[in-house]
């Protein structure tokens, strides 16, 4: 199934959009500044609709099926959220309008800040960061600023576990700091001995530790409070990567576990859609010691609720803010979705989300672990990692199993991450999947294991039923074709 490119559908003189005629006297154009050609397609509206509709039909999506993607939390995206974010009273607001004309928007942002503070156990929240990675950069810059503010300019090291998501070390480098990797132990926790040694040797150069909890193995750090105490004792701070918050909603608050700053992923935990690669939203929560360093502006209530009137809200910049992470205030359109989601779940609903996420993951693990080895003999949280290796089929790898899952109607799980598990398959079912779906997925994995032994070449050729077969990525990197040139 191939769909022509827009430029291949283009025909001279076609125009899809009708615009009003010029209704003012024209002004002379600045000749030397006007362009000659504009090589954009010329297509009709029907062409546009058919083209993109056909493209969409080549996509897998949450609306069509299950995504067992570890660390991504591909839960169902509620449709009411799509309607609320499109309400004209939100969608048509200009960010620089007078504050009195946008109090409804500020109300929403203020209370979303409050909800996230409560859920995470933090004293302050900034909604500005555009995505998780930007939230991480924010957190690292805040920790760095905290130390500099106290006159401590010698600290330049961030500890990062070897199981960490790539954005952690990348964010550290972007902040001008050094990464020091800490290994994990045989139970999948941060190796306490190694951490103690690192804190002993580098304690006075330590900015902080970046920790994901539960970690990328889906395991709750068994000694997380000790870890926090150790880091705090040598003057460092605890950064929390909140990608796995789906396991903690109403179960535990990172702030209570000793984290000083944490980013949330609204497009994971709070059900806002992934959009084929964004937009996400990565708000950051801060403990009292770091609240002043949050990126601004944030929303404050400057007049309380009273009998006669609603509260009044305004933007303020935190006193020692690290600065702006982006223009304007953050992804308001995504915030509306998350706010609606939290309002519909409430505290009880959020806790049930986490409980069912953990239930689903443990159930799926129980169905799969005799087929694919799970390296850590522990109860998992909302996700687990297994090895994509089939005994008796030495040529079959995680990649082949993943591609064959496509033929069974499933999106593959996360591959080759975390790096510390051989041929890793990271599986996160989320709470919105039914037992039937999980059973069907386990069944597919079972059959694939059998196929791996009986007919491994089938797996090497997979997928056979997708819109395209396996794509030549080497060719794509060697012969770069990054745009249509005719």
């Amino acid at each position: 199934m191939t769909e022509p490119l827009l430029f291949e559908l283009s025909r001279p003189g076609r125009c899809a959009t009708v615009l009003p005629a010029l209704d003012v006297p024209p002004t002379e154009l600045p000749g030397n500044l006007v362009r000659g050609e504009l090589a954009l397609p010329e297509v009709s509206e029907a062409d546009v609709v058919r083209h993109y509709t056909r493209l969409s039909q080549m996509n897998y999506s949450v609306d069509t099926g299950f995504y067992p993607l570890g660390s991504c939390t591909m839960k169902y995206n509620p449709k009411i959220n799509e309607e609320m974010t499109r309400l004209p009273g939100f969608a048509n607001l200009h960010p620089y309008q007078d504050e009195d004309s946008v109090q409804g928007a500020l109300f929403l942002m203020y209370y979303l800040q409050e909800f996230l503070k409560e859920i995470g156990g933090f004293a302050g929240v900034s909604l500005q960061p555009a995505a998780g990675a930007q939230g991480e950069l924010t957190g690292v810059l805040m920790m760095r600023a905290y130390h500099l503010d106290r006159g401590d300019a010698a600290r330049d090291v961030i500890l990062v576990p070897d199981s960490a998501h790539g954005t952690n070390p990348a964010s550290t480098s972007m902040s001008g700091l050094r990464v020091l990797e800490v290994p994990s132990d045989l139970r999948g926790n941060v190796d306490m001995g190694a951490l103690e040694a690192a804190c002993g040797e580098h304690g006075d150069r330590l900015v902080g530790l970046m920790l994901t909890n539960p970690n990328t193995l889906g395991l709750f750090e068994e000694r997380v409070e000790e870890i926090a105490a150790l880091v705090h004792d040598c003057g460092g701070l605890m950064y929390g990567d909140g990608a796995n918050m789906n396991a903690l909603l109403g179960i535990a608050r990172p702030g209570d576990l000793g984290f000083d700053v944490l980013h949330y992923n609204l497009h994971k935990t709070f059900g806002t859609p992934h959009g084929g690669g964004g937009p996400g939203s990565g708000p950051v929560g801060a403990a009292p010691s770091l609240v002043d360093f949050l990126p601004g502006p944030v929303v404050e209530m400057d007049e309380e609720w009273s009998e006669e009137s609603l509260p009044h809200f305004t933007f303020v910049s935190p006193q020692k803010s690290i600065g702006r992470m982006k223009a304007f205030y953050g992804h308001f359109g995504v915030m509306v979705r998350a706010y609606t989601y939290i309002r519909m779940l409430g505290a009880g609903g959020l806790r049930r989300v986490a409980e069912h996420a953990v239930l689903n993951a443990n159930y799926l693990m129980s169905q799969v672990k005799d087929l694919y080895r799970v390296p850590y003999d522990r109860t998992c949280m909302h996700e687990f990692v297994c090895e994509g290796i089939v005994p008796g089929a030495p040529d079959v790898r995680a990649l082949d199993i993943s591609k064959r899952l496509i033929d069974y109607g499933f999106h593959p799980p996360t591959n080759y991450f975390p790096l510390i598990v051989h041929e890793a398959l990271m599986i996160e079912p989320t709470e919105t999947e039914s037992k039937e779906t999980l059973d069907a997925f386990a069944d597919a994995l079972r059959r694939i294991a059998e196929e791996a032994r009986a007919d491994p070449d089938l797996l090497h050729q997979a997928p056979l039923s997708a819109p395209v077969r396996r794509l030549d990525e080497v060719r794509a990197a060697r012969e770069l074709i990054l745009r249509w040139e005719g």
Binding site: E473, V474, A477, R478
Partner: protein, 131 residues
Amino acid sequence: MKLDQEARYADNHEWARRDGDEIVCGISDHAQESLSDVVYVELPEEGDEFEKGDVFGVVESVKAASDLYMPMGGKIIAVNEELEDAPELVNQEPYGAGWMIRFAPSDPSEFDDLATAREYEARIAEEEDEA
């Protein structure tokens, strides 16, 4: 695993070979095999100076981008410009046409600190046993 008996080998799988007063350098057959298809090689400029162990470039495949480390200190005399259009030469002829840099060593005796072909071969065999 192919080896160039004339060359010496560094910890990170670079090889170095003497050519008159100059040193030619690339990556070993073992290294190119673990990288799989090389798609790009980032090389330094003529005249750049490095110390032993400094990063002089990057070799990229679809699944990894690995730093290249100087086996010895020196000043770059030439880089293999053919790799720009044909990076696969690194996979096909890692010791020949897939050479990467040619440099003037700052301390020629550093050559003797590197592993011989036999020592390198033994080391790889040991690593594979452990894995």
